[in-house]
């Protein structure tokens, strides 16, 4: 079903969650959706529902309370899924790294596939990251399908 996979690659849906930080990156993510940058021309759509989403965009540093929410959102997304950490906060904790309330990086809570370190990631960079994520998504799909097809005889 190659056409399904290629069609999906062209329309990944996004779920955005701001875990902390200063929301500079969150605003830039929204800016990337609007007319000047227009992420939607790549078929990407921002959705509020984790069950519809393929790519999880994490911005900001993960703190004690939002880590649980992030974990929940991640678990509710259906396979295959890709997680993109946008901004240095989401990658390592950034300037708040030494704070008492933080996990240093989103990868302590959910598996992160792509890192975009930047303090206030630019919309261009976000678009680049999301396109890479879409490729990755198509690839994981293919890998998963292979694994799925091979699974029965491995069992046997």
């Amino acid at each position: 079903m190659a056409w399904v996979s290629s069609a999906r690659k062209r329309s990944p849906w996004l779920l955005h969650y701001e875990t902390g930080g200063c929301n500079g990156c969150a605003i830039e993510f929204v800016a990337a959706l609007t007319p000047l940058y227009d992420l939607e021309r790549f078929g990407m759509l921002n959705t509020g529902n984790p069950k519809h989403a393929d790519i999880l965009v994490v911005t900001g540093c993960v703190n004690a309370r939002s880590g649980r929410v992030l974990r929940n959102l991640y678990e509710q997304m259906s396979e295959p899924k890709v997680v993109v950490a946008v901004g240095v906060c989401a990658c390592t904790g950034g300037i708040f790294h030494d704070g008492y309330n933080l996990a240093p990086g989103a990868d302590k809570v959910v598996p992160v596939d792509l890192y975009l370190p930047n303090c206030a990631a630019r919309p261009e960079a976000i678009i680049d990251a999301l396109l890479t994520a879409a490729d990755l998504l198509a690839e994981t799909r293919r890998r998963d399908q292979h694994a799925h097809q091979r699974a029965p005889d491995q069992q046997g």
Binding site: N23, T34, C119
Partner: protein, 359 residues
């Protein structure tokens, strides 16, 4: 007694880019009580400031909030300057004013877009954010970056504006004004927007004072209070009056913000016309000592800093009271009695900035 239901609203919700939760207690469709649950964005900045060098805390101040980053650095720099007795060159003061107003413009446009989105007016959302990109272009051209600019520093500014930058600013301001002229009648007259905002989220003047509302939330309820009148930076030399609406509802608060955009454009033009020549940065030596209170007007209202320094390399105490924090009690008051469907819009109408609230 009617049956009561509790609905958690948030933390992840399409209307806000940021997480906040309200536990809404409902009787049928009406909200009878709302309990805010915070803490999804807390980073502990006040504690970090007590271990970091006070010059580095400037960058921490910038990262309290990505939307009013310029204003936070402005307030912090002014507070430290007051403690150390530094006199900032007049040109730097004007530059600070210009950048602060650009920051206000982009913040208000951002809010107008989000409000249009919450109403369900997708095309208006896109339209305002397109106008916002014009402002961001100006910010990037004059400050070097879109969000975290680092342009204001202790003792002045890091950059200077040359004749061509000023030319560029004036040219772009004209573009922006045109775009705003197109958007303004939609916000003020469109029946769809009026239906969703007029009479929604009432906050009387007396309540606004009692509950401590600040900024556009207070000005939308007829309180003519604007910290820019204190005359910090160059505001004392630019003649202006605060924008006040008396309808006391979401519509009034929205109009205040839309009109303030025009006011900001005027202020920037005046500042450019009056821009004095000279240096923009003075050398800073020594360490701060003493106590100071700094109040400035952010896009969302009055910001209050209390700084205490004991001559050490880091501050002894840095208290940050952001505008949204003092607008929370009015919000809880407004949500009571509202319909569930209006809650997102009422929440937006105070222009919540959760990153600021939780620091």
């Amino acid at each position: 007694m009617k049956r009561r239901t509790v609905i958690p609203f948030g933390p992840q919700h399409v209307v806000f880019p940021e997480p906040i939760q309200f536990r809404l207690i409902l009787e049928e469709e009406r909200v009878v009580d709302a309990i805010p649950a915070l803490g999804y964005m807390h980073r502990g900045i006040e504690q970090l400031a007590t271990v970091k060098d006070f010059t580095k805390t400037l960058y921490l101040a910038e990262r309290i909030c990505g939307i009013c980053s310029v204003m936070h650095t402005l307030a912090y720099a002014q507070a430290i300057e007051e403690l150390m007795g530094i006199e900032v060159p007049p040109r730097a003061k004007y530059l600070r004013t210009i950048w602060a107003e650009l920051g206000r413009l982009q913040s208000h446009l951002l809010w107008m877009g989000l409000a249009a989105d919450a109403i369900g007016y997708e095309s208006l959302f896109m339209q305002t954010w397109r106008a916002r990109e014009v402002v961001l272009e100006m910010i990037e051209f004059t400050e070097g970056s879109r969000i975290m600019t680092g342009s204001i520093t202790i003792g002045g500014t890091k950059r200077d504006l040359h004749a061509e930058s000023l030319e560029f600013l004036l040219h772009k301001l004209e573009h922006l004004e045109q775009a705003l002229n197109d958007i303004y009648p939609v916000f003020s007259d469109d029946p769809l927007i009026k239906q969703r905002t007029v009479g929604v989220g009432l906050l009387s003047k007396a309540d606004a004072i009692k509950l401590g509302a600040v900024g556009p939330t207070a000005r939308g309820s007829g309180i003519a209070e604007d910290m820019r009148l204190l005359g910090y930076a160059a505001y004392g030399e630019l003649d202006f009056q605060p924008v006040v609406e008396t309808s006391c509802d979401s519509y009034g608060r929205m109009l205040v913000r839309v009109k303030e955009c025009f006011q900001s454009i005027e202020l920037i033009r005046k500042a450019i016309a009056k821009l004095p020549p000279g240096e923009v940065l003075v050398k800073v030596k020594g360490r701060p000592e003493g106590e100071v209170i700094m109040r400035i007007e952010q896009p969302r209202g009055e910001l209050l800093y209390y700084l205490k320094a004991g001559g050490d390399k880091s501050l002894a105490r840095w208290r940050i009271r952001t505008p949204t924090l003092s607008n929370l009690p009015p919000l809880v008051h407004m949500v009571k009695g509202a319909r569930l469907a209006d809650v997102p819009l009422i929440t937006l109408s105070i222009d919540t900035c959760i990153a600021c609230v939780e620091r």
